[in-house]
Amino acid sequence: MFDNLKILYHQGKQFIPNVKTVEVPGIFRGRPVISNAKVDEQALKAVCPLGAIDVNPVRLNLGKCNFCGECAFKFQSKIEFTKDYKISSNKPEGLIVTEGEDKPIILDESLIRPEIRKLFSGSLKLRQVSAAGDNSCELELNASGNVQFDMGRFGIEFVASPRHADGVVITGPISQNMAAALQITYDAIPEPKIIILAGVDAISGGIFANSPALDRSFIDRYKPDLYIPGNPVHPLTFINGVLCLLGK
């Protein structure tokens, strides 16, 4: 009994009081800022292993970005990754960062279905499906619910059964071997329901984009409600993305 109290006391306060404003430690690579500096644009485009960079004007698509930082190391005057972890959007175009612009990434309010905020803003239960995810996003989604990030305080939780869920969170590039299970899980969730893509692999296929072992037809059949970039997604990115969708 006293042992337990001592342990509890020694933990101090672990929770992050404000997950919207807390600063992440170290050198996190979040929302990039692209300057107007003149560089060899073709060389810049070629440096990206995932083809996330486009030119004229220079644009970086966070839906394809691995956040490896190679472009920023080789073109320091051109690209800088800031520590801004609020990088989710509800449309693919919203994930594109253009040169000369330094503005927050926000959701397009007009695209948010009214029933989402009406029904889910007090409580959102999610069923996660790892569809060939590499277990990095999965670890970070689990961390989102730990005592530090504690997204449960907003009524956001992962549940075991799709029947209890209000939506699906997909990680991984969606393999052929997992496509049917993903569909069955999605079908088992009662209407209305949302789809969240978490991580570069889910959004664009990432490094696996052109692999013949994938079946991404699910993404063509349904319109995702939220795209959360990262490899893996940071818990703060995930929580803030979902909070924005819920209008909280």
Binding site: G26, V129, N135, L139, N146, V147, F158, A160, N210
Partner: protein, 500 residues
């Protein structure tokens, strides 16, 4: 006559130096190498398709001599052969994989089943939905199917139990859901950075382990000697990854016995370690840290001081919690004698890493085939003998403390960081290379073959889970089905590392 060629870990040799045997000699010589020798085991056995034939490569590690014996044999695709697995059961998965990829059949294989339903498998009629599960006809027994989508936020796999009431008689694990075609992608992607990112994505919980294996192998293929700064980075990162994941595993073990305090405390203790990885390289799971021939993140005195601060806060809380856990009767009664895999069984299955050391089998690449800076660390593997959940929990507890010790020693002597720009690396033509790394789960083995132009012709990945999944299935026999989650967590095996 030489039946094989002996190489060291991370050594490249010309393909022509690997002796080629008739299949009969190939089988006999490799089986006799392993007979009654616990210090030898097969680290990789795979096929390399050449037109209508397939060249088989068998790599046997000798832990006492610190050597790996490599031999080869050419057979026809679709040939019918006698199996290695009949004589040495540890080959069973390797032969199933060779069958799946090349259609080679075996006359006397004891457990001839699909492996992962690879997209380029020979028999496309074999699909996930018609996996040939072992079945028992009985009025008394019932089957329980779990997955592929599990109750938590974890990867997919299907578990099929045959139970007598609450008691598990048999468990069969069907994998393959995570198959992304990663070995093929290694050949398709031509740039080094693409391949490095692929290596980081083999198993995102073992980013450092797999990327280190790739980097060591690529540098060996290109005849490039990495400086001490890179060796330091990889060794330090491997030990930090071990500390972080072991801490998280202890949390998961507490969760599965409904011990909320342990679950929360170990869960939150993982955070400072992975946040430290972010301070060092910008990513909590160390993606982007390990690069071939260079590093983007030089390690400085500042980093060392920060790490000492992190440990100063971590250690008292970890020690307090782990002491409490190991004194708690309600926890111990769930851990002890649950999920036992005996010494004889782990030898038979050929487990590696923690799943070997839990049951008195001394398998640890850090000692037997040291890579990076491990030859300078006087590593003593943590060995337990009961093979139960308790042993696997003990290993984590002691390895966390051991790794902290290693890390503290390492950061006392930080090398000068000079490898900050990418060297020109060209793999040599017609070579074979093998790299072994002890990741937190156990032995990772990467093999590569180059063609006459020096291009990658084969890339072969083996995660420790490839061996160890069968040990999990064995561990739950005669246990209550309610103990399955804790058995599963105590192994914490990789789905994506297996499915590739």
């Amino acid at each position: 006559m030489n039946y094989n060629v002996a190489i060291r870990n991370n050594q490249s040799i010309p393909l022509k130096d690997i002796p080629e045997q008739s299949y009969h000699t190939f089988l006999e010589s490799n089986i006799s190498l392993l007979k009654d020798r616990d210090d030898r085991h097969c680290v990789n056995y795979f096929g390399y398709g050449i037109g209508e034939s397939v060249k088989l490569f068998c790599c046997i590690a000798d832990d006492s001599m610190h050597l790996i014996y490599v031999s080869s044999c050419i057979v026809n695709k679709g040939a019918t052969l006698n199996s290695f697995a009949k004589h040495n059961f540890a080959f069973e998965k390797f032969e199933r994989e060779i069958n799946e990829n090349f259609g080679v059949k075996y006359t006397d294989h004891p457990w001839f089943k699909p492996v992962r339903y690879a997209h380029n498998r020979i028999e496309k009629s074999k699909v996930m939905d018609n996996y040939p599960f072992y079945g028992v006809e009985s009025e008394e027994l019932h089957e329980v199917g779990v997955g592929p989508v599990h109750a938590g936020v974890i990867e997919p796999g299907h578990f099929r139990f045959i139970c007598n009431g609450e008691q598990i008689m048999h468990l069969e694990i069907q994998l393959g859901y995570q198959h992304r075609g990663i070995e093929q992608l290694f050949l398709q992607k031509k740039s080094l950075i693409e391949r490095t990112i692929l290596a980081e994505s083999i198993a995102g919980d073992t980013t450092v382990g797999h990327t280190t294996a790739f980097a060591n192998l690529w540098e060996s293929l290109s005849d490039y000697q990495a400086d001490k700064d890179l060796q330091f980075t990889r060794t330090l990162a491997l030990e930090l990854e071990r500390i972080a994941i072991h801490t998280g595993d202890l949390s998961a073990l507490c969760t599965d016995i409904a011990y909320q305090l342990g679950s929360s405390v170990f869960g939150r203790l993982r955070t400072p370690i992975i946040n430290y990885m972010q301070e060092w390289c910008g990513n909590r799971l160390a993606k982007s840290l390990i690069r071939v021939g260079k590093t983007n993140f030089p390690y400085t005195e500042y980093h060392a001081n920060r790490l000492n601060e992190v440990f100063a806060a971590y250690e008292p809380d970890f020690n307090e919690m782990i002491t409490k856990l190991f004194k708690l009767p309600s926890a111990l009664s769930r851990f002890e004698r649950t999920g036992v895999v005996t010494h004889e069984e782990v030898k038979l299955i050929g487990t590696v890493g923690m799943a070997a050391r839990m049951s008195g089998l001394n398998r640890d690449i850090r000692l037997s085939h040291p890579h990076n800076l491990y030859s300078t660390i006087n590593h003593e593997p943590i060995i337990k003998n009961h093979g139960d959940v308790y042993s696997r929990t003990q290993i984590r507890k002691e390895e966390v403390k051991q790794s902290i010790g290693y890390v503290k020693t390492l950061i006392n002597d930080i090398p000068t960081f000079t490898s900050i720009s990418e060297p020109e690396l060209t793999p040599k033509p017609e070579m074979f290379a093998l790299s072994l790394v002890e990741g937190w789960r156990g032995e990772i083995c990467h093999c590569a073959i180059t063609n006459a132009k020096g291009e990658l012709a084969l890339y072969k990945i083996k995660d420790p889970s490839f061996h160890n999944w069968l040990a999990l299935a064995q561990s739950v026999r005669n246990n209550e089905i309610s103990d399955f989650p804790i058995c599963n967590k105590s192994f914490n095996l990789s789905y994506c590392g297996h499915d590739l």
